[in-house]
Symmetry: C2
Subunit: 598 residues, 2 copies
Amino acid sequence: MAQLRIALAQVNSTVGDLDGNGDVIVEWSRRAAEAGAHLVVFPEMMLTGYPVEDLALRKSFVEASQRALERTARRLADEGLGDLPVIVGYLDRRTVSLVRAGQPAGSPLDAAAWLHDGKVLIRSAKHHLPNYGVFDEYRIFVRGDRLPVVRVHGVDVATVICEDLWQDGGPVSVTETANAGLLLSLNASPYERDKEDFRLGLCAQRAREAGCALAYVNMVGGQDELVFDGDSIVVGADGSLLARAPQFTEELLIADLALPAADPALEPGHFPVNAMDGTTITIDRQILSEDPGPAYDVLPQPVTEPLDDLAEVYAALVLGTRDYVRKNGFRSVILGLSGGIDSALVATIASDAIGPENVHAVLLPSRYSSEGSVTDAEDLVKRQGLHSRIVPIADMVEAFEKHVDLTGLAAENLQARIRANVWMGLSNEYGHLVLTGGNKSELATGYSTLYGDSAGGFGPIKDLVKTMVWNLARWRNTQVGSDLPFLHPFEQEPIPEVIITKEPSAELRPDQRDSDSLPAYDILDPLLIDYVERDMGRDALIAAGHDPALIERVIRLVDLAEYKRRQYPPGPKITPKNFGRDRRVPITNRWRERATED
Amino acid sequence: MAQLRIALAQVNSTVGDLDGNGDVIVEWSRRAAEAGAHLVVFPEMMLTGYPVEDLALRKSFVEASQRALERTARRLADEGLGDLPVIVGYLDRRTVSLVRAGQPAGSPLDAAAWLHDGKVLIRSAKHHLPNYGVFDEYRIFVRGDRLPVVRVHGVDVATVICEDLWQDGGPVSVTETANAGLLLSLNASPYERDKEDFRLGLCAQRAREAGCALAYVNMVGGQDELVFDGDSIVVGADGSLLARAPQFTEELLIADLALPAADPALEPGHFPVNAMDGTTITIDRQILSEDPGPAYDVLPQPVTEPLDDLAEVYAALVLGTRDYVRKNGFRSVILGLSGGIDSALVATIASDAIGPENVHAVLLPSRYSSEGSVTDAEDLVKRQGLHSRIVPIADMVEAFEKHVDLTGLAAENLQARIRANVWMGLSNEYGHLVLTGGNKSELATGYSTLYGDSAGGFGPIKDLVKTMVWNLARWRNTQVGSDLPFLHPFEQEPIPEVIITKEPSAELRPDQRDSDSLPAYDILDPLLIDYVERDMGRDALIAAGHDPALIERVIRLVDLAEYKRRQYPPGPKITPKNFGRDRRVPITNRWRERATED
């Protein structure tokens, strides 16, 4: 057996920020070297951020990524880190472009490279391209077809990328044939509830198949609608858990591994192997160092326990909100605070994400607002130490009513839009990002005003059904004094109890209640989850035990709301062709055509 | 040679409207039968509409399409049309689901079927799946691998679908081997400027390759951001043009063809052939009728001349607007009419699309509006016979100013948002769809207010640069007395000349001019087209002769505007998973889970 100390850099990269991401690589490589690591591995698409979407099709962006990779290799050597093998994900392209139907222009690759001694030692690319759910990788990448195996201190180390682990066949299936002693997996794997246990099981299974230890490094951080949760993992060849990083935070996970020494008879070169999925994978074997080096004492292996369910969801919301604000260049946020539970939870998440001193609340009472709404909101402002102002909207409503007669829903929407007009104006004047407070139950059923309460740049709780909003608010109030790193140290419960217990109301007409328009949330929410998230059709919903009349009503509400939501874009998108439709480009993207490279 | 009379049904189908699209199939099949046609062919995905996007992944939708196909076959027979072969596009799925990485769940197929005698005679599916530009078909379809060849009145007729014609190899390459006498191509091919000549050349080239006549039937109609332009084409085996349908309108194109009689020695059955693209295509040969029937007199072949450039673009805008309104269930539209050129052209397009009696204009003068703005807008209202009302916004602006101090851009945006608030309120009250008036030059450079002038459901001129807006306005004024079918018969020029000639201004502060903020449009527009539509990088823009300083300025404006436009969704989208991102679903979609089938 040979000893190998590996460092997994679970870091937060930003789409398009090639320089900033390069800085992160250098900084964390130095930390890995200082910790005595023999190699350091970064996540998938580290250098460009992930997902880059249609930016992969832009020639100038691919070339900027290629140049940034070379520049990072040189910089590592210049700063005395040339001896440390540094494995990073980046965007590359095939040198021979495939002219086959359906292949993306320029043949971009979701690539990984070993950097060493100021140079790029070896390159490979993701073989299995996910093309479902949030992924569209057949659109933007072509497939890689090699398994790099690099001998480091006498151990043969192979690398694969993300989806390669999730599909049978391909490079992982070749790893045993390649006689690798360690398999590194570079990932940008988004958070879903209950996914992390599946991940550990998968790592264990693939380690056993590959016949070697497996180190899984994942990205951490928010990117538009996605949150990457970290949770990097090291397992032994038998699938046993050796080390695990915390979720939702950057971490340099160091693991000391005892690994089988490489067979010295195996020579460098290229060796094609049947990859059991209809393709051939070429093993690309290189030798950096044969010498295992002197024995050393093993460090303790950190094995972090995963967070419990509510803490995990809350951490994802805090990180997603913080990174949307920060990566889009904002320092502060503004939101309407109604005295209801939704805006209260959003304010609290914002306080945890960027500090209450950067959160600006606007209280916008109307003639229909209850006395309690204002005082409850003011109580929350005081508990959390937010900035706040009160802007009564009655005069503005009257000014409209003088010229335009609106009734019923149109009159209710008018109030919601006047409020949005105020917070958008303050946002334009002072540069705060607008947070919007809709939850999934009301957005899914259309209980919301377009360009009104739904107006804003980021909706922290848009993916929470209402019952979950209450659960998280209660949970957050229990965490006073907690040492969870993603929570602001409030000295009292941040959310007034009465905000959690009051009956929900939009307060857009006298004595309005959510229950006038919607089924009770404890009945509605499970049905919404089955219909919206699990994609169950009517028959399946009935079989799952939901009330048939309610199913009809909710399906009608949801379909109509989805239709209306899509019908009104925030303003028309312009298209890249003279007729056509929009490109897919990430919102948070630091890359600009104007950026000067080299 | 054998005579064959074919009917190409260039019709307008609606996504999700299985019943309505089925009605269209029956009605147009009857017209084809009455015209003595021996077969009738409908566009790609006729029965479901196109594009269905992620609806293809929904099991209940695929099954609804399959049932609708069988039902349509029975209905055709019930109504006495069972003898006529009817070829329709629809959504199907593979019976044996492929479990391979990257294959969409349920293996949906972009399929075509021959309906005859109350039954489905033969099925096939698109082989080449486009996955670039507006297409994401690797995400939602698996590939078909057969070429149906059906003998009709002694002629062997093969069918392929859309992209199969645009790529080398695959079923078209097998057509000559199959000895087909006619190749039918079912299409849903979106309009782009200058595309139609390429289409004719392509049809001619593929006819020569296939060694037989080719009939190309295309969908017509607007679907969300796309417009299908019809322009169905029939060419002979030598590539010569035999018949051509008009653009942007429904048409039953009848063509009498003299075609080689089928070789009677060729028996029904399945015959695998190398398709020259790494795949095998199976020829699926069936015999409906061997008898060519008695000779008959040939009808004159209509060969419509394509429209000239401005007429073609204008027709696309009218059809796109009409179908967005109609297919989304609206009868009327509302728009803010400023007295400027953009809203004037939008009003005119709307009048042409749905009739001036269904167009509601709101004039919203502020303290900065010039006297001319109101009188010019009123002149347009009178010329076109629109409904109109004047809602001065000064009181509303003052009501906001009493409570919130806004300066500079924030104050300008406030006015734009107050206007949007008025037309959204009237839209909610009276059920009009809001049209928004931004052009591509101002949207691309960010010269527009989020939730303000950009608020609305559909932006008819969002894909026109400003110079094109002027060109089309001038062109439209020359068409008084024209017999173009997509124009309303105004008795005088619909747009007052002064609106076309005045210097453009947003009128949000005293003496404001577009030229304070933007380069002259005749310099800006060509640069925008090269950067936004042609995807040229900085070096390429310099090489194309644009001024380097202007390039820097415009790239900065466009990148920043794109970023801001994406940053603020109209309201957060809810996602189909607990964390993730939105499904891709068409806006105009008549299919609802609640629809009862059979």
